[in-house]
Symmetry: C2
Subunit: 367 residues, 2 copies
């Protein structure tokens, strides 16, 4: 599969402009976080460091990655330095910063020992998450990758759903369902799963929003929450669907319908300029009004991109604003020990005039 190239030059030009304008309160940026480095340069390996000065990007890595780094970072225009010895590589990167008076480094991702070593040689200043705001805006090339990931997830779940719905007659475990989903996402074009797939079943496991899959066999009457995503060219997808094994009870139908309505209300609220807390409230109010407020144990969603969880986070306490270009989940759910749980989650991109849902799998499997 061939993708539209990522426009690294545009990203770097915009960051360069922020650097020159004084907005970042430093005259050079040092990057040690591999996700930020990938976003900036295109490098996908496991060892790298980048320096941005006005008009000049330098990328450093070890000799294992020399040739690959040059190929991957070509679109960024970075000068690549590949040196095997870690301290000599460090020195070479410090040399590129000669004359800088304030070198911005992210204290939230840089290990303390790394910070201290650089602080011996460089005038460091703390610049927390310098490209987080820029990373929020997903361009067409990024959305293309996320959509391919979402389609792989849709296709895998469509194949596995019949196995799940027949579980009352042909026993399967949580692990069986997970293994089939992860195998089949790759057959449908995913590079990998996006995160550890959640298959949470029955009165205890499904009641935990972040249950770890085990070898429990699904039985009639279980609620089952399936939370699954794919990874494509570094970009993630994320979706959840919920099921009942056998004939649902009246309460299971009631809870399912509440979650379906709350999820739809969250999506309806999703548009450019809305407060993230208002998106959360749109879903949450449905539960509170129905007397199920204390069954809702988490926020309504989060951003998705090169990381599976990234800003914005739409929780009741959020002070963020949703903006066009955000790719986010809307994923309300209800959980109660003894009952189990139901969660429904779509991925959507916020556009100039609303949003577009990227998850296509249907939401109405209840009998």
């Amino acid at each position: 599969m061939s993708f539209t190239p990522i426009d690294h030059a545009a990203r770097i030009a915009a960051l360069d402009e922020r650097l020159r304008s004084g907005e970042l309160r430093c005259d050079a940026l040092l990057f040690t976080d591999l996700i930020d480095i990938r976003w900036l340069t295109g490098f996908t390996g496991s060892n790298g460091i980048a320096v941005l000065r006005p008009g000049a990007l330098t990328f450093g890595t070890d000799t294992r990655y020399g040739e690959r780094a040059t190929a991957e970072t070509a679109a960024s225009g970075a000068e690549v330095i590949a040196i095997q010895d870690r301290s000599r590589l460090r020195e070479a990167m410090v040399d590129t910063l000669e004359g800088a008076t304030e070198v911005g480094l992210d204290p939230t991702t840089t290990p303390h020992a790394t910070w201290e070593r650089f602080a011996d040689d460089l005038p460091l200043v703390a610049v927390p998450s310098p490209v987080a705001s820029a990373r929020r805006h997903k361009d067409a090339a990024e959305i293309e990758r996320i959509e391919v990931a979402a389609r792989a997830t849709d296709a895998a779940l469509a194949e596995v759903e019949p196995i799940l719905l027949a579980a009352a007659d042909a026993p399967v475990t949580e692990a069986d369902i997970r293994d089939e989903l992860e195998y089949r996402m790759r057959r449908h074009g995913a590079d990998d799963r996006s995160y550890d797939t959640i298959v949470a079943s029955g009165p205890e496991h499904a009641a935990r929003p972040h249950h770890e899959v085990c070898r429990r066999t699904l039985v009639e009457g279980d609620t089952v929450v399936i939370d699954v995503g794919a990874l494509v060219e570094g970009y993630h997808s994320d979706m959840t669907r919920s099921y009942v094994i056998g004939t649902p009870t009246a309460q299971q139908c009631e809870v399912y319908e509440l979650v379906r309505v709350a999820q739809s209300a969250g999506l309806d609220a999703l548009r450019d300029g809305v407060a993230a807390a208002a998106v959360d409230a749109a879903s949450r109010d449905v539960f509170v009004d129905a007397g199920y407020g204390d069954w809702y144990l988490h926020g309504t969603g989060h951003g998705v991109g090169l990381q599976i969880h990234e800003p914005p986070f739409h929780a009741a306490t959020s002070d963020e604003t949703i903006i066009a270009g955000d790719v986010v989940t809307i994923e309300p759910g209800l959980y109660r020990l003894g009952f189990g749980g139901i969660r429904i989650e779509d991925l959507a991109v916020v556009t100039g005039d609303g949003h577009r849902v990227l998850t296509n799998h249907p939401k109405s499997p209840l009998a």
Copy 2:
């Protein structure tokens, strides 16, 4: 599958003794690294912090994990604190350190911002990798888990090998082989893969020790390097086997035989008390003597446990000594652009009188 319980109480008693003896040059230890925390307490979640003072272990996490943390850390005797709000949890952990005069924290794994926040309230001292030496010694319960992981890998490779060896007639890609291996390891008892499986084929890909799998179709004449491991209860396995698609050339046979001999020589050198550099030299000398020294691009092996790469590292420049209880790989290989590559890797535990190989899959697939 049910495993011998891990003896967390013994680990904590030994660390407590090191703390009291003054060896660690502090009177309390603060842990933020989740692997160290798992080793110490048994907790497997994604948010936690631990404090050890003489005679008292405290574990803190958020309310998502309250019940699970209590269950998982029971064998460690930890007092569990579960608080949703991050800054209140931090304060509660700081309170457990009242009166401590030197609080050891690992600067190599703690983010700088985290270090600085604790330094506001606590007399921090840098204690790099405080349990690294203790983690090297694998006890019987740990080796049991690693062996189950190694057997799952053996079984998956035995099933996939026929597909690989038929590749000249029934085309498959690197990704196909990887997907089958990862799916089948789980069918044979693995919780997951240990790391991203490497399937590196042909004159370019196989020449890169850390190739990333892609959708290249295997063709007659290819060398293929398969590096695969499983994860069981947090513990890893690691093995590599190499193949030629179709009838091997004289040079392919020569290189394969050299690697087989070098791998066997590395294993022969592996025993309690030997220098890690001598284990590396045992394999490396075979290549150098045969005029292939510059085809060998990495060290001969590394420790394996809760991490896939952990001490000791047997490279030419290593100053470490191999000790009984180390679980390590022996994995020499030869690589050349245009030729491809051959690597053979076994996992072995160092015993009082030599070592025991944990990888059982045969090494002689060449025609």
